[in-house]
């Protein structure tokens, strides 16, 4: 955003260019879903893990694969199934007869961009394997800790819990996701565009022409830039009030954690950066409030029965808090 009275104090050109490139790459395959794509890019810039939820067939996995293809980093995919074991994700110690020693064989979690497909198809035992790595960026096996390489981002997809064969993810794990992005059905016009594009396509592999636009080093650099953005003290207070109110709302029995407050600020910074600003506005915070909080808060059973959604409650909370001005 240009402003004639103030000199640009942060060079946002590289970041803006990178964001434009990623969006353009995604737009070659994905029709619509602009908000979801913005949040995905913001999530990556905010150094967060992202949970993508939607009914089958709305291009959740495709979007996540596209993002990972657009970034030239070590990509790893784990298909979560009910019989998956923690060692299938993290790795295991294997006996080497030649050296007569146990050697650690790294699992697929060792990578930069980890796509976990259908994450809620595995039970809580398997999910717990992700707790340490998602928060601390390391795993501990046989008393030895293994650090993950930066950048480390988990992109997980899931069907809503009402779908057959799915488990509810543990609260502790949900709290580790920066965003829960809900992918909705496309509009009629978008659906026509999807069919037309697929009909005109010559090759079966639609991702074959996708070229990386960012390297792992670029991501690290952009994240540092995002981290340094300006946030006014009143906006920190505004964020804290939103999360605090979620803990006292009568429709909720589990509110947002302090990790949620941190996540909101980081996400708002990333969103401001995407908008070309080097400072956060209340609108950035309000925009990210729902994707940051919707998977962290839990409705009381009666509200759930009434059909109230977490987004409704978040909107109610925000409506009660004065926008700092």
């Amino acid at each position: 955003m240009e402003n004639e009275f103030f000199e640009q104090r942060t060079d946002m050109s590289k970041l803006s260019k990178a964001v434009e490139q990623i969006k353009a790459t995604l737009a070659t395959i994905i029709v619509g879903q602009h908000d979801s794509i913005d949040l995905l890019v913001a999530g990556i810039l905010a150094d967060g893990h992202i949970l993508i939820e939607g009914v089958p067939g709305v291009a959740k996995t495709l979007t996540a694969k596209l993002i990972s293809k657009a970034i030239d980093a070590q990509y790893s995919r784990i298909q979560f199934t009910p019989d998956l074991m923690p060692s299938d994700i993290l790795g295991t110690s294997v006996f080497n007869p030649k050296s007569t020693e146990f050697e650690f064989k790294r699992g697929p979690i060792f990578g930069n961009i980890i796509l976990i497909d259908e994450i809620n198809r595995a039970p809580a035992k398997t999910q717990s394997a992700l707790f340490e790595v998602m928060e601390e960026r390391q795993i501990t096996i046989d008393g030895h800790s293994y650090k993950m390489q930066e950048p480390f981002t988990v992109l997980a997809t899931q069907n809503p819990v009402e779908q057959e064969g799915t488990y509810r993810l543990p609260e502790a794990q949900l709290d580790r996701f920066l965003f829960k992005i809900e992918i909705k059905y496309p509009t009629l016009e978008e659906e026509i565009a999807i069919i037309t594009r697929q009909h005109q396509q010559k090759t079966t592999d639609q991702l074959s022409h996708i070229q990386p636009v960012l390297t792992a080093a670029d991501i690290i650099e952009l994240r540092q830039q995002v981290k340094a953005l300006h946030v006014e003290a009143k906006l920190l207070e505004f964020t804290a009030k939103i999360v605090f109110e979620s803990r006292n709302h009568k429709s909720l029995y589990l509110g947002g954690s302090p990790r949620a407050s941190l996540a909101m600020i980081n996400a708002a910074k990333a969103l401001a950066a995407i908008s070309g600003r080097d400072f956060v506005t209340p609108e950035d915070i309000i925009y990210v409030a729902a994707p940051v909080l919707r998977h962290r808060i839990m409705l009381t059973p009666d509200k759930e029965m009434e059909g109230v959604s977490p987004d409704d409650v978040i909107a109610q909370i925000i409506q009660k808090i004065e926008v700092p001005r």
């Binding site: 955003m1 402003n3 009275f5 103030f6 104090r9 300006h230 006014e232 906006l235 009568k250 600003r277 080097d278 400072f279 956060v280 506005t281 209340p282 609108e283 309000i286 009666d302 029965m305 009434e306 059909g307 109230v308 959604s309 409704d312 909107a315 109610q316 925000i318 409506q319 009660k320 808090i321 004065e322 926008v323 001005r325």
Partner: protein, 241 residues
Amino acid sequence: MLKQLFAFLLVIYCFLLCDTAFAAVKKTPARLQKDSSTVVVKGFNDKALNKYHSSESFNYEGPGLSEPSAWDRFWAWFWNTLFRKVGGPVIGNILKYGFVALAIGLLVFIIFKLTGMDGMRLWQGQVRKANLAYTESLENIHEIDFDTELEKAIALHNYRLAVRLLYLKCLKQLNDEELIRWQIDKTNSIYVYELNDPSLRQAFLLLTRQFEYVWYGGFTVDGDAFKSINQLFQNFKKQLA
């Protein structure tokens, strides 16, 4: 045919031969053994029998089952006598089930009231609309004396605060002109989109950007910059008039 006859005769011969062989085995007569042990006659323990006789658990003809309690008699009167006497056997049954349905409905109503649930929405599939229970604004723009406060801020060279006051004054003017509706939860962009006049919207968008840079962006404003920003606000005021 002859072959089959021969086979049949052979089987008969074998059978007879076996029978003769078994008959040849000498049979010994069975001998009856005498039991000389003493027989002890066992009887029921009277004490134990009396104990069971006096136990309530084994009293199958007790007064509890044969005679209904006062509670049972009340319900028997309630269901049979009251309903059947009022409407006969058919209407009485209808009344009885109607009464049960009414009682269940009342119970559900009490549960909904106690838990604060909105029962109608369960069937309508609607979600509850947000209750607009606003908290009181920390700073009511209708009560601020903008001119005095602005003078103070400029005198103290607090241009950042001065820009904020100019913006709040601008919002008040728009609200007074009924071009926007002031609400504490509305963001600046919402106010921008509430303006229907495109030229006014564009001008207000520019002011909003200046305010955001100064107030949220933490940009320092010197006297010259403030003069320029102030001029923008004055122009907008003229445009509004």
